[in-house]
């Protein structure tokens, strides 16, 4: 394809993606990715799909850190094709699935976050979407951290003024260059009727370090497909997840860690707390490719069941094609150990507070890795969620 400097290349690709979306069958429930979540939940009447640009759908909160560029995605496609063209849709491919195609074709607001080589952001960049407005919301973020840069991004989905069902479709692509250090924190605290489909992929180059957290607290249904490709020798990835659900909330998190380069490490830890009729689905895979020698991979999924009516599914998968490897995974489901509660209650702590304390200790190790301001924000959201539990 010839490179048109006017950005029509993006228009053309978006048109193709729309056609692909239109013709693609619904996701098949026979594959793990959709085994426990009915794709019909994310079916949208075409008349409400609307790509009218909505600048402000993703709003930076607070000052943009010095040295970091935040650009409109469509404008950047015109003005900075060299930055955008090879990366957009390369980590979360439009043909990865129907909903990924829909996002590419009809995102209403997209941002490019660019950390030029060597830039170390002194403060986190916070990007907030408060979902009000139309029923269909689609946003897209492309993060490019050039070599030796250091950047923390908080992507927050907050409750907006819209009542009733909301369909939100989010895509986040992250490219961490050589020796770059990127922290990406996604906080989902949407209104109770909202449904969110999130696709997130990070590509980590040589000696890059990527830390991601997803805190899934609100909404009616959340389906997230989160992955990291350890593509450069020495790359490292740490992924944390915190899910707190009650009522009839349905969470479905899928993770993919692909080690394509040797001497890479991934560590992964998802904690789930469930009450009422809430359901958490975790499916995930670690894959060590044939040529990726000397990798380490750890995968852990722990589910705390606070009530009998809660339900958890866990499928942590490993595919190991190289023998020079250290790899373990674990999954547990169970209640709070009665001894803990007994101990706390014998010290005069009321039962509900004891449960809250335990849950706090269960999930917060995930929060220690982020800058204090971000940690405070995460704790605030969690405390709010626990109040409602």
């Amino acid at each position: 394809m010839s490179v048109a400097a006017d950005g029509s290349w993006l228009e053309d690709l978006r048109q193709l993606a729309w056609e692909w979306y239109h013709d693609a069958p619904e996701p098949s429930r026979s594959v793990h990715l959709w085994r426990y979540t009915d794709p019909a939940i994310f079916r949208i009447p075409e008349q409400i799909i609307d790509a009218t640009p909505r600048p402000g759908l993703i709003a930076p909160e607070g000052p943009i850190p010095t040295g970091i560029e935040v650009l409109d995605l469509v404008e950047a496609a015109m003005s900075r094709p060299e930055l955008v063209r090879d990366r957009l849709g390369a980590a979360v491919r439009p043909v990865a699935g129907k909903l990924e195609a829909l996002n590419f074709a009809r995102f209403q607001h997209g941002l490019v976050v660019h950390a030029p080589a060597g830039v170390v952001a002194a403060t986190p960049l916070t990007l907030v979407s408060k979902l009000g407005g139309p029923r269909f919301n689609a946003s897209r973020i492309l993060v490019i951290a050039d070599e030796d840069s250091d950047l923390t991004i908080v992507r927050s989905y907050g409750a907006g003024d819209r009542k009733g069902e909301i369909q939100a479709n989010g895509v986040i692509e992250v490219f961490a260059g050589a020796r770059a250090h990127v922290r990406l924190i996604v906080i989902q605290d949407l209104q109770p009727e909202a449904r969110l489909h999130l696709a997130q992929r990070t590509v980590a180059d040589r000696d890059a370090r990527v830390e991601t957290i997803v805190a899934s607290l609100g909404g009616a249904v959340m389906k997230a497909d989160i992955g990291t490709v350890l593509a450069g020798k020495g790359a490292e990835s740490e992924s944390w997840g915190v899910v707190v659900g009650d009522g009839a909330q349905h969470f479905d998190h899928h993770t993919v860690h692909t080690h394509t380069a040797g001497h890479t490490r991934s560590r992964f830890n998802y904690k789930t707390v469930l009450k009422g009729h809430a359901r958490s689905v975790y499916t995930g895979s670690i894959r060590i490719e044939k040529d990726a020698a000397n990798c380490e991979a750890y995968q852990e999924n722990r589910n705390l069941m606070l009530e009998e009516t809660a339900h958890a599914d866990s499928i942590p998968e490993l595919e190991i094609l190289n023998n020079e490897v250290q790899c373990t995974h674990g999954a547990t489901m169970g209640p709070i150990e009665p001894e803990y509660l007994f101990y706390l209650e014998s010290r005069g702590i009321p039962h509900d507070d004891a449960v809250r304390l335990f849950v706090d200790g269960f999930v917060t190790p995930a929060f220690n890795r982020v800058p204090p301001a971000v940690e405070a924000s995460l704790r605030g959201h969690l405390a709010g969620r626990m109040e409602r539990l």
Binding site: E308, H311, I315, E319, N323, E324, V325, C327, H329, G334
Partner: protein
């Protein structure tokens, strides 16, 4: 059409198999050892065996199910889709079985017999040269002892003839015909296998081995085994043996059903060592009633490709299930094995321990399912999967599934994948062992929890077998 008519019509589907397919002279038909599967074959088989009407019906319906069911889309689709069902002999009458000569048996199989020290008579049987293993003397005294206890232990075909009431009550109740494509196939063309009934409160002191009453029927391609342990009884059944079983048939598809009545204890031990041309697609499942215990001890060493996931339905309160398995996948082999536990009643417990070794181009897959139903309060599950990778081309996969409802349950799953640590090898070398000896020792240590669960002579043979498989190994 009135609903009643419609229902009557539906219930009549498949009733006219005899009219449609029953025109062959069954013996004449089978004498020519037909290839391929058809209702005519099923009809001939069932008539030659002189089976009751219900079994005849069951076989025909099973064949329809087999033909209608799609091939699984997981496991190893390349090998599965390459099966040519039209080229397989589904039933050969014992008198038509063609004797193979000792010369036709591949050298590597002969070599393994040598190394394992298998007696001459047994070798010929295992290699398919003779149809009967001369163990009548041993078997006879055991048989007397069992008869005294009221234990029934015989071939499945004989079981159907002599104990039709029991067989009819339980056959296909644990693994329904339509459970999967290969259970349907087995139900249509099964032959051989064991039938065991242990009366109430009877402890069968010695392990029952198919080996004692071994004959070609027993090791068939489509064997069918049914074991019923009545209340408070106890039985250990051993299927197969560590020595390689040479078969020129490329498809082996067995169905094994176990029923442990309240308080009963069944242990079922298998060491699968088919020659490397065999696709081994097996369905094994047990039902454990109140306070019953079912243990599957399952070793997969041979075959080109195995799909086998022993399963326990913990149906009664306090039931316990245990699955202990090892898989060894050498170059060109794919062992897709695993375990399934369904907790359907309160206070049930289960433990799965899986060890796999992938060597050179081998691929070992653990595929598991643990489900805890909402009413299974107070249940406990523990799963442990360890995989060892030997050689750069080896591959190991872990696909566990856990579906858990309820608060008062405890589920734990762990898996570890590693290679043999150089430090360990170095340490053993410093004690005077060669590198190969050190690796063998480490591998034998790795599978020790499995070997410990075997009767001694099996454990010894298994260790020797692993030694053979490890020869020339890369670390």
């Amino acid at each position: 059409m009135a609903p009643d008519d419609a229902q009557a019509q539906v219930s009549r589907i498949g009733d006219d198999y005899a009219e449609r397919y029953g025109f062959h002279d069954p013996s004449e038909y089978l004498k020519n050892a037909p290839v391929g599967i058809s209702h005519a074959l099923v009809e001939s088989m069932t008539r030659v065996k002189g089976e009751p009407e219900w079994m005849r019906e069951l076989r025909h319906k099973a064949l329809d199910t087999f033909l209608a069911k799609p091939m699984p889309t997981w496991g190893n689709t390349g090998l599965l889709n390459a099966i040519d069902f039209d080229k397989i002999h589904y039933y050969v009458r014992p008198q038509d079985r063609e004797g193979r000569t000792w010369e036709e048996v591949p050298d590597d199989i002969k070599k393994t017999f040598d190394r394992l020290g298998i007696p001459e008579a047994e070798r010929k049987f295992l290699a398919g040269v003779s149809a009967q293993y001369e163990s009548e003397v041993v078997y006879h005294s055991i048989k007397e002892e069992l008869t005294k206890q009221g234990v029934i232990f015989m071939g499945m075909d004989q079981g159907l003839k002599e104990h039709e009431d029991i067989v009819r009550k339980y056959f296909g109740t644990v693994i329904p015909v339509a459970d999967n494509k290969f259970s349907a196939l087995n139900s249509a063309v099964w032959s051989g296998g064991s039938f065991i009934y242990v009366p109430k409160n009877t402890d069968v002191g010695i392990p029952l081995q198919a080996y004692f009453r071994i004959n070609a029927e027993n090791m068939g391609q489509f064997e069918r085994t049914l074991i019923i342990a009545d209340e408070g009884s106890r039985v250990h059944y051993i299927e197969g043996c560590t020595a390689p079983i040479y078969s020129s048939d490329s498809l082996h598809s067995a169905v094994v059903e176990l029923i442990a009545m309240p308080g009963a204890h069944i242990r079922y031990t298998t060491i699968q060592n088919w020659s490397h041309n065999v696709l081994n697609l097996v369905t094994k499942r047990a039902i454990a009633h109140e306070n019953a215990v079912v243990e599957w001890v399952d070793g997969n060493i041979g075959s080109k490709f195995t799909m086998k996931y022993p399963c326990v339905y913990l149906k009664g309160e306090g039931a316990r299930g245990e699955i202990l398995s090892i898989a060894f996948a050498g170059d060109g082999q794919h062992q897709d094995a695993g375990a399934k536990m369904y907790h359907l009643a309160p206070n049930t417990s289960s433990r799965i321990t899986s060890k796999s070794i992938s060597k050179d181009g081998g691929r070992a897959t653990y595929r598991g399912m643990v489900r805890v139903q909402p009413n299974a309060t107070g249940s406990k599950v523990s799963v442990e999967c360890d995989a060892l990778l030997l050689g750069t081309a080896a591959r190991s996969d872990t696909y566990p599934t856990m579906e858990v409802s309820g608060e008062a349950v405890k589920v734990e799953h762990e898996a570890r994948i590693s290679k043999i640590s150089e430090e360990q090898v170095f340490y053993l070398q410093s004690r005077g062992l060669s590198a190969d000896e050190a690796r063998l020792l480490i591998v034998n240590g790795f599978i020790e929890p499995f070997t410990k669960a075997l009767p001694m002579e099996f454990a010894v043979e298994l260790n020797r077998l692993i030694e053979l498989e490890m020869e020339g190994g890369v670390g």
